[in-house]
């Protein structure tokens, strides 16, 4: 009995010693292996491509010098993975905000306001419990000038004994006054790897 317990303990100890230790990954210096699924590096590449192209095309430059107001519309996830498209749009929003060219409204969205507090705070109007000098007045919310929409596509192919997974990140920036797409971009991300790898 004692021998069996010792053998099991030793086995567990050996297995624990073999396990890779948990460690932090610095995105600025990550030489780690590539996954067949979309990872943070893919979103970063797509966002970098999109933002640099938007800035250099002049599409996000308001000729009067003020910042454009952008709303994030629908980004369709047409892949086999569960993707939170905010992983892409947030990077774009942050970078455009930092550029000083575009600010994003959280008061408008396809499924209601992104930040419901925009309207909740206005419900305090005429409440006797609140100092009305600090309550938002009527007509202060800013309507968007631009809308960001897009789609993430996935196509799988068998290439010899390998698998090829193609992702296409397609984005459009629509000028809401005219309904015209004033900027469009597509970032293909192509990965080839073991047929046994799972891409969903």
């Amino acid at each position: 009995m004692l021998i069996r317990a010792l053998a099991i303990s030793a086995g567990i100890a050996v297995l624990a010693g073999c396990a890779a230790p948990t460690r932090y990954i610095d995105p600025a210096a990550d030489d780690g292996p590539v996954a067949m699924t979309m990872d943070y590096r893919d979103f970063e590449k797509a966002a970098t491509d999109a933002v640099e192209d938007m800035l250099s095309s002049g599409a996000v430059n308001n000729p009067d010098g003020s910042r454009y107001i952008m709303v994030v519309s629908r980004i369709t996830n047409d892949t086999m993975q569960r993707i939170d498209t905010d992983q892409l749009t947030k990077k774009i929003r942050v970078s455009l905000l930092r550029s000083g060219k575009v600010v994003t409204t959280t008061a408008v969205g396809l499924n209601g306001a992104e930040d419901e507090m925009n309207m909740k705070a206005r419900e305090l109007r005429d409440s006797e419990e609140f100092d009305q000098s600090g309550v938002q007045r009527k007509g202060t919310l800013q309507a968007p000038d631009l809308s960001l929409s897009g789609k993430i596509l996935q196509r799988n192919h068998k290439v010899g004994k390998e698998q090829q997974v193609e992702y296409y990140i397609q984005l459009s920036l629509t000028e809401l006054a005219s309904g015209l797409a004033i900027w469009e971009g597509e970032t293909p991300i192509i990965k080839r790897g073991s047929d046994k790898s799972v891409s969903w």
Binding site: P27, A28, D30, D31, R41, V51, L55, S95, S99, G100
Partner: protein, 130 residues
Amino acid sequence: MKSLFLASMLVLGLAGCATQPETNSTMIDRQELRVDPEVVYTADVTELFKSRLTLPDGGSLLQVQFAVEARSHTELGWKVTWFDDVGMVVKGVGESYRQATLLTGQTRYFKATAPHARATSFQLHLREPK
């Protein structure tokens, strides 16, 4: 009185030992192009241009374009770090290296645009992904 004198001397002595932070804003002569030896072995940077792109609002953005010519099949990572006129980093969209593959004899042109009009200088780093 004697202890006060000793304490004062000790404080002065310790202050003298402290490393003074560099507060001089004089720019270090920073190289615009840094290429790791592993990349030099298989590829050459044949061109490096910079220009300011004029925007409709009257502002401008720094742009960098460079060309890499491969002597053999090469995989490299490249990254541009942007700096303002006092040498402080201007944060871009991402931090990671952009991957590129070059076939033997191929010349590829890469372009990067500064994230803000504040960027006035840059450093391009080419490395071999491990």
